[in-house]
């Protein structure tokens, strides 16, 4: 189990005064301090961990956010920023002595500018909310995490989230132009804007993926793109992971960059098929979903080329979608993957390491061996073009031994990812989940340097202080600052 820092006794003792102070800043409808209504905030997408916060504030304006932070700063109160709480790494897990600052009420689209292809929205707008706001005009916001119906753009920025289409369109960082942020001392700062590549230090890049540790994001300016003329998917199934992996290499080598290139192994195919009845080949060991974009003629041409490449690897099934409906059917299983696993196992942990794609067959084989030795089933679904793995480890949360084994299994997978030249997390963030594995990827002086940069923003370590970095004692923490 992950340890949280000890709550500050002086904060806990002053709980009523702190709540009263906050009630002077935000409307009463934006302040939660009673146990029943705090309950929904006790966890996030990593639901194995739970902790009730001291209070929840749901500011409605940037100025209110600034006032809340200033108040917390003056009173030495910790703050955990929160979007929709879908983090799979426990990034939004509260602390007993912390005020959760939620973005739920900051959900307005502020400006859509088609000539310049940018949109400015408040941090609490959902990912899909941006696309929905511009779709009628033929535009979209590219990064598309599977959680896009729920997760908020402020959360996406702080996790640098990706999606199935980021091989072509990039992750959040590559689609971001500007931020309005509030620092822990209540200063409101504009970073970037509607233009590209601000001169000076790349604060935008540093803040992206900073997991709520540097500042609270209240407004976000993103690039919006014109939707392609059309898109179509194909499905190719193979007799081994290795062959499917080689097919992925061949596709990339051909010069075609599909908009999506997804990989599922046998357990994942079976789980998804049982759930979605998508017509997946149950005799396959591995399957690719490949999507291309363009006019119908361009799609035909690209799919023809891709088919020819797949054919070189003796596929046991090759299905090119003939229509939008058929493409949707191919995607249906993949998009419902988490739900599908949820049906066959009471609980699962979703891992998120990235590996060099050339090491794929070896990594999948070793994950298989670990699965046998831990006695826990695992299904692998991942973004094949960029090597971002999502092994789903199935366990039973009612059995503490099972949970403990699942966590150890997960840690072993992530260590393996680093060992073969990859990293601990490709898109879900470190949060609390992978915090204690950070020394596997970084030397102590590198972690100290990263901590020092957090300290440059937040010298007192009040903003989301228990995440990303292994806990160290307060004396060492002060030294790092």
């Amino acid at each position: 189990m992950i340890r949280l820092p000890d709550p500050k006794p002086e904060t806990l003792a002053r709980r009523d005064a702190i709540v009263a102070g906050l009630s002077d800043i935000v409307p009463s409808t934006s302040l939660i301090s009673d146990e029943t209504r705090l309950k929904p905030y006790e966890t996030d997408g990593l639901s194995a961990y739970r902790q009730m916060p001291l209070a929840v504030a749901l500011p409605e304006t940037t100025e209110q956010v600034a006032a809340v932070l200033r108040f917390c700063h003056q009173n030495g109160v910790r703050v955990v920023p929160r979007g929709a709480g879908t983090s799979l790494s426990g990034g939004a897990l509260p602390m007993e002595d912390a005020v959760v600052v939620g973005m739920m009420k900051m959900n307005r689209i502020l400006d859509i500018n088609y000539p310049d292809r940018v949109a400015t929205v408040q941090a609490g707008v959902t990912n899909i909310g941006i696309t929905n706001a511009v779709a009628a005009d033929g535009f979209f916001y590219a990064p598309d995490p599977s959680s896009q119906l729920a997760c908020m753009i402020g959360g996406n920025v702080n996790m640098n989230s990706g999606g199935a289409h980021c091989l072509k369109y990039g992750v959040t960082a590559n689609n971001l132009l500007g931020l309005k942020i509030v620092t822990i001392d209540g200063e409101i700062l504009d970073i970037g804007g509607e233009h590209l590549d601000a001169a000076g230090y790349d604060w935008l890049g540093l803040l992206t993926g900073s997991e709520g540790m540097l500042a609270v994001v209240t407004e976000v300016t993103v690039r919006i793109l014109r939707s392609p003329e059309g898109a179509r998917a194909m499905l190719a199934a193979f007799t081994s992971n290795e062959i499917a992996g080689r097919c992925v290499d061949a596709i990339i080598a051909s010069g075609i960059i599909p908009v999506a290139l997804e990989f599922m192994d046998r357990p994942a195919i079976h789980a998804c098929e049982a759930f979605a009845h998508a017509g997946y080949p149950l005799d396959a060991e591995a399957m690719l979903i490949i999507e291309v974009e363009g006019s119908v003629a361009e799609q035909d041409d690209l799919l023809e080329q891709l088919k020819a490449i797949c054919q070189r690897f003796d596929p046991i099934s090759l299905k090119v979608s003939q229509s939008a409906e058929e493409s949707a059917a191919i995607w249906k299983g993949r998009k419902g993957a988490f739900g599908a696993i949820g049906r066959i196992s009471p609980d699962y942990l979703c891992m998120d390491g990235t590996i060099p794609t050339s090491r794929l067959p070896e990594v999948l084989r070793r994950i298989g061996e670990m699965s046998d030795s831990y006695g826990l089933k695992v299904a692998n679904i991942f973004h094949a073009g960029d090597g971002n793995l999502h092994p789903l480890i199935m366990f039973d949360a009612n059995d503490p031994a099972s949970f403990q084994k699942a966590e150890m299994f997960g840690a072993d997978i992530l260590k393996l990812c680093v060992e073969v030249g990859g990293c601990l997390t490709g898109e879900h963030g470190v949060g609390v989940e992978k915090r204690d594995l950070m020394p596997v990827q970084f030397a102590p002086h590198e972690l100290a340097q990263q901590r020092a940069i957090k300290s440059a923003f937040d010298p007192d370590w009040l903003l989301n202080p228990s995440k990303v970095f292994p806990l160290i004692d307060p004396v060492a923490m002060a030294k790092a600052a």
Partner: protein, 392 residues
């Protein structure tokens, strides 16, 4: 007397930095010095070049990844990529016309440290978007790595972004790992004649807002090699797609006299835009970035001060050239502020560069964070002091 340091490995860079910090003797850190003339001049008794750290250390075409030591000439990287049909996506410019050629090639470390990107930036991202991993020696003499050799990585704070574009003020970059992409099979350019800056940018916006995957959109004034001002729109893809898309776009934009340039002419014109050749070379050169629709307004606002220019990135990148005076610089600053954008004084005599804000100053609250961040990486202040901001 200057002390010229030319280490051949990372440990040598560490030694140079540690000894500089111990002696409180700042370093002018650079690669081959091809862009020494940009921003503020750094005057130090010690000069540290990364040119001795050379060579590609990893290239895995099927993983879209290349790593090279900082001093590797960019041409060497580009040649290795071209052999496998790939390219540097951000299309970094060669600014030797602006800074004067010093006979040496620019290095991959220098291009990364300055985050300079060419026309393709508008569609496919800047240098900083493709830096997947970095190794740098901080002012403490420590080797700091961030990112790695995979395409997706959110592990810890993204120091790749912080080092990229930091002009050697936070760390001496020793090795860079970049995401690369296949080079397109072919390209073509639509030339849109007879458009002034405003109508030109409107056409570029329409093109960039089309589904046809435009990867370059520039506007050139009269006298840049065409009969009058023109809009230029590039499409790069497989041959059939390029043919189909340029025709569709020509029809949809409906601009009389629009012509399509073939691949060879298209390559020539975009290389020229990339390397800023259409800009008449004045004593001062600025690189301004604004929202695309504000580009023409910036051009108009500075014209009275004798400043001329052209537009790339759909109108958002404004290249300006004019007299090297504080008054001219003020005009550029004011026009850019009005457009809520950002500027960089790229070329100018030392006295001008030290007298004005070469980049927009940060507001006090952000400047305080900057000072603490800089102090954490370079406590003795030995790395390129004053390069971006006076006193930092």
């Amino acid at each position: 007397m200057t002390l010229a340091l030319l280490p051949t490995d990372e440990a040598g860079v560490q030694d140079a930095v540690v000894s500089a910090a111990a002696a409180r003797e700042p370093l002018w850190v650079h690669g081959n010095g091809t862009k020494s003339g940009m921003l503020r001049r750094v005057e130090t008794a010690r000069v540290l070049s990364t040119a001795g750290l050379s060579g590609i250390t990893l290239y895995s075409p099927s993983e879209l990844i290349i790593s090279a030591r900082a001093g590797t000439p960019i041409g060497e990287v580009e040649a290795a990529l071209a052999e496998k049909g790939q390219q540097l996506t951000a299309e970094p410019p060669d600014l030797s016309r602006i800074f004067g050629a010093n006979g040496r090639p620019q290095t991959i470390g220098g291009v990364t440290a300055t985050n300079l990107s060419g026309p393709r930036r508008v569609a496919w991202g800047a240098m900083r978007d493709h830096v997947m991993g970095i190794r740098a020696v901080s002012g403490r003499g420590e080797v700091i790595h961030s990112g790695g050799r995979v395409l997706k990585n959110v592990t810890g704070l993204d120091l790749c972004k912080l080092f990229t574009g930091s002009h050697g003020t936070l760390g001496v970059i020793t090795e860079v790992t970049l995401k690369v992409l296949p080079a397109s099979a072919t390209s073509a350019t639509l030339v849109l004649p007879g458009l002034d800056a405003v109508t030109g940018v409107a056409a570029l916006s329409a093109a960039l807002g089309s589904p046809y995957g435009v990867s370059g959109a520039a506007w050139l004034p009269k006298g840049a090699g065409f009969d009058g001002p023109v809009g230029l729109v590039r499409i790069e893809d497989f041959a059939a797609s390029v043919a189909y898309r340029t025709e569709k776009l020509r029809a949809e934009l409906g601009i009389p006299g629009a012509e399509i340039l073939d691949e060879a002419s298209s390559r020539t014109i975009w290389k020229s835009v990339r390397d800023v050749l259409p800009l008449p070379l004045g004593d001062a050169v600025w690189r301004v970035s604004v929202r695309p629709s504000a580009g023409p307004g910036v051009l108009a606002a500075v014209a009275a001060a004798g400043i001329v220019g052209f537009l790339d990135w759909g109108g958002g990148l404004v290249w300006l050239s004019g007299p090297a005076s504080a008054a001219a610089h003020r005009q550029v600053e004011t026009a850019t502020r009005t457009a809520e954008g950002t500027w960089m004084l790229l070329r100018g005599p030392d006295c001008l560069r030290s007298a004005v804000d070469v980049v927009p100053p940060e507001v006090p609250a952000l400047a305080a964070i900057t000072r603490r961040m800089k102090a954490s990486l370079d406590p003795a202040g030995v790395l390129n002091p004053g390069r971006l901001y006076a006193g930092l």
